[in-house]
């Protein structure tokens, strides 16, 4: 009776490992691509060639050209810089900030905790993108302001996760034992709390990358993010959407890029969540 279960678990475990390797590699490829985008573009993404505008995909231009004759493949690759790199920066920043806020609240409790949590409630009560729109509109356009707007509305989720995890850890026996070993509060947090809440925070962040990418592209699509001619997938989509019926490749290229990246990061997030799930522990 025992052997089949063990084998099943092993198969499941190996399966997870394969998924982790595949999606991890794909995600790393995307990130490396975005980092070295300047060197990967076959053409200058800003170079116009009106004589060759709206050309269909060919060997010279794999994704065709847009209405100014710019190479779509180059623009999509260059756009990954803005889209992927900015998203990771954004997610990294709110993860760190939200986690610190959550831990501090949970650890100290009292007034500070209530105030910060009420503020985060406020942000959570609004539909995210609507609020980001308002913030971005107030700050004016530009990728940087779009990131600030999204950061401002997205940190509460991380603060919540870190706070509830910290509250749970705070009452554990081993934290009490560590106190008796003479750990100060900062030592308790850095040496014991952080490593033990890292998993859930990481999963939240991984699953958020796709969403953030979409929202950043969404803001740009609505004209509140990247400004043309800066290549960014959301603004490229919005730029070319009236060509969808006649010259679909121009619209499909950035759309496809968003679709693929979001999916890869979501699948990776799912896999990491399964990986860290204690029920799948070795």
């Amino acid at each position: 009776m025992r052997e089949p279960t063990v084998r099943k678990q092993n198969i499941h475990h190996n399966h997870l490992k394969t998924r982790l390797i595949i999606f991890g590699t794909l995600a790393i490829l995307l990130v490396v691509c975005s980092f070295f985008s300047e060197y990967l573009c076959p053409y200058d993404p800003y170079l116009q060639d009106l004589g060759n505008a709206k050309a269909a995909p060919s060997l010279a231009h794999l994704f065709g050209t847009d209405r100014y004759g710019r190479d779509m493949l180059s623009r999509v690759i260059a756009g990954s810089r803005t889209s992927i790199y900015s998203t990771l920066l954004l997610v990294g920043f709110i993860t760190v900030f939200g986690t610190i806020a959550g831990i501090v609240c949970a650890w100290n409790g009292g007034r500070l905790d209530s105030v910060v949590m009420r503020i985060s409630d406020m942000f959570l009560a609004f539909p995210g993108l609507v609020f980001a729109l308002a913030v971005a509109a107030v700050l004016g356009g530009g990728v940087q302001n779009a990131i600030i707007a999204l950061a401002a509305i997205s940190w509460p989720k991380y603060a919540r996760v870190a706070r509830s995890q910290t509250l749970a850890q705070k009452e554990t026996v081993y934290i009490r034992a560590a106190r008796l070993s003479g750990c100060s509060s900062s030592k308790l947090i850095i040496k014991h709390i952080l490593p033990n809440i890292f998993g859930p925070v990481l999963v939240t962040a991984m699953l958020d990358i796709g969403t953030m990418m979409m929202e950043l592209a969404g803001l740009s699509f609505l004209g509140l993010g990247a400004k043309p001619p800066v290549p960014e997938w959301g603004s490229m989509l919005s730029d070319t959407r009236n060509l969808l019926a006649t010259h679909p490749w121009v619209t499909l290229a950035p759309g496809f890029a968003i679709f693929v990246s979001v999916m890869i990061f979501n699948l990776l997030g799912d896999t990491v969540r399964d990986w860290l799930d204690p029920r799948n522990a070795r």
């Binding site: 026996v173 081993y174 009490r176 008796l180 003479g182 030592k187 014991h192």
Partner: protein
């Protein structure tokens, strides 16, 4: 002889919204003398854990006074609070949960030494020495809490509590989660340690029979109060209080 621990009028009232105030510990007084093995017994819920949590300052008391080695520790905080843990240490009921799941037993045992200024490498060597004192091989220092049995983990927990050479060791039902033979081994270990170092035990337990062979003196707690005090044999053979009689009858 001056007591190493003296507790005066210790009281804890839990206040929570929507519920009546609950006094879990009510005017408790006792002393623990150097080298003594003192037991506190009482049914579950009688307030034993609350007493020792206040004693180790993991919980603030509502009123009363706690003296450790002559020093009033009732309200110490911060660095001064960390200093009292050189003198008083505790072993918890659930051995496996009392170690950080992401750190090795060796890390856990050496932690108090490192925190009180010893070099990491030296502290690890000391941890290994303590493990062998508690009957565990060197390699246990590298194991994680989920990789050892409950009894082994409790030995490691005792090693951790002894690392800083405390004067008082509190054992809050430290053997309750273990099966009978392992319980016996842990008690033998405690007796052996007592021969090697100058230490007092505060032994929390709900099993009278266990206390009879092991402790010098026993306090009986009931509903947050100490209802009886004496030498175990006397308390067990000639209990004065009705409650103690029932407690003894329920075990025998």
């Amino acid at each position: 002889m001056d007591p190493i621990v003296k507790v005066e009028h210790l009281t804890k009232t839990f206040k929570s919204r929507g519920r009546e105030d609950y006094t879990a510990v009510d005017d408790v007084n006792f002393s623990l003398y150097p080298g003594e093995k003192l037991a506190i017994i009482g049914e579950s819920g009688s307030g034993k854990t609350t007493v020792v949590n206040m004693l180790t300052r993991l919980l603030d008391c509502t009123s009363g006074r706690i003296l450790l080695d002559g020093e009033d520790i009732t309200n110490v905080r911060g660095k001064a609070l960390r200093e009292i843990y050189r003198k008083v240490q505790m072993v918890f009921q659930t051995p496996v949960e009392s170690f950080d799941p992401r750190r090795t037993l060796g890390d856990g045992i050496s932690e108090s030494l490192v925190n009180h200024g010893m070099k990491k490498k030296e502290a690890m060597q000391e941890a290994i020495r303590l493990l062998s004192l508690c009957g565990l091989e060197d390699e246990f220092a590298k194991r994680y809490p989920h990789e050892v049995s409950g009894g082994q983990c409790q030995r490691a927990a005792i090693a951790r509590a002894l690392a800083i050479k405390p004067k008082v060791l509190i054992l809050d039902e430290a053997t309750s989660a273990l099966d009978v033979t392992v319980q016996e081994e842990v008690l033998n270990l405690l007796t052996k340690i007592k021969e090697e170092m100058d230490i007092s035990y505060l032994f929390i337990c709900h099993d009278i029979a266990l206390v009879q062979n092991f402790c010098d003196r026993v306090l009986v707690m009931y509903q947050g109060r100490i209802v009886e005090e004496g030498i175990p044999d006397e308390v067990i053979l000639h209990p004065k209080e009705e409650y103690t009689k029932n407690l003894i009858d329920s075990v025998l």
